[in-house]
Amino acid sequence: MEQYVIIGNGVAAVSCIEGIRSVDTESPITVLAAEPHPTYCRPLISYYLEGKTTVERMVYRKKSFYEENHVTVRYGVTAHKIEIHTHEVFLEDGESVPYTKLCIAAGSSPFVPPMKGLEKVEKQFRFQTLDDALALEQALTPDAKVLIVGAGLIGLKCAEGIHGRVASITVCDLAPRILSSIFDDLCAARMQAHLEQHGISFLLNDTVTEFKGQTAVMKSGAKVDFDILVAAVGVRANIGLVKAAGGNCNRGIVVDARCATSMPDVYAAGDCTEGYDLTIGANRVLALLPNANMQGYCAGQNMAGKAAAFDKGIPMNSIGFFGLHAMTAGTYFSEQEGGVCYEECDDKHIKRIYTKDDHMTGFLLIGDVEKAGIYTAMIRNRTPLYSVTYDALQKDPSFASFSAEKRGQIFGGVV
């Protein structure tokens, strides 16, 4: 009989439970959940503000999930320390929770760089948790001017979410373009123009040097008046517990393909980890919901004694604003790095597919994203380009570009 403990109650924790239960239906599982909510999906908070979902519908699994899986959830408790020699997790109040197998699914936390006068800003919010969104919602008024610091995925989804509920939205970022982690200049400009059409203003290549009351003084000298401030600069993996316990961490908790950490009987999954990205052949933080799910499941199975591996992690994003969708995946290698880029670009859409060494390594689509998963699978499965009619495939993601044999396998059998 094992005694499973999971720190965190996000998507990785849920799939960890599912992974464990796919092997071991008996042993008790305890979840230490810092937030007081059943598992919900954090990316949904902007959709909540937009009115596309409700708090009830945001629940990741049906109500009976924990009960059906014999899981004890301890809401509102925070793990304070891991003692790997005695196999114990200590809570803040000193209580000891013993484990035989531990999974750390502690997620990430917003990172706000020091900004002068920030502490004096009254209506300032983060945008990561449901509570963040609920608090922000309380503050929204039709005449409010909103300043969002950070033009990444979180900041922009926040902008879309509150659009129509406030008077104006300005987004600033130190980077010269929006969504700088996933977009190049051309794509960023296209998406920025689209957002601007919907009334969102941008101050790029610029940052707040000081908050003076309800005014942000920018490095460029510009002054932005605001009523509500949302700090969405970025997130950092929660690695503290593992680091303190002597586990191997870089920017995230280092895990192997089995999602095991460097410490015995301790696994980790989700946004707090640094896992293998097959497009670069090295570890990096892949803070993405699908990866969290798959890592969690893999960790769970290994914890329960079934050998499982998750070695198909790739960066990918599906993101849309006001009806314009974009999808990105993998890594874009430059010509110097040996990469080749195929490009289509017109008024309606942009398509870039990156290949290297006869493999697709990444793509970037704006507008027409239909059947993009076929490309994603090419990257994930490391499908050699020689096995497909790539000239046709790069234009249209279709199985017509695959061999008849491959189509026979897929459409004539069980996958």
Partner: protein, 149 residues
Amino acid sequence: MQVSKMKRVYVNEQWCLGCHLCEYNCAFANSGKPDMAVALKGKIIYPRIRVEQDGQITYAVNCRHCTDPICVKSCIAGAISKDADGVVRIDQEKCVGCMTCVLVCPYGAVAPNENGVMQKCELCLQNSCGEPACVKGCPNRAIVYEERG
């Protein structure tokens, strides 16, 4: 839920004529209307099965109801599930239209409906057709509904 034993829709490209009737039969079956002309006249259709064609090659693609579906794992809303009967279903109430499923489905079998909510083949189990409409209406028995593997 790992279910592989189940009846699925299979398309045999040797017999697929590329007539697109499966698409119209699908759109009609899921329209809830009593007559195809009433249901589809003057409308852009959003079928859950799509014919792909390249010269003489024609076949139709719909959800494979994968044994280990990546869409289920990737859905940011927890709206996609693989149920005990093996059928992968989308809870359209929970779907927020983020299209992550489109990004990950290796078969290109998920697409939005006219309202931007995701949909895919659910084997006509929930509509009035009772059996997959694409199978029933295929003029050359290129599409079959059976258990394999």
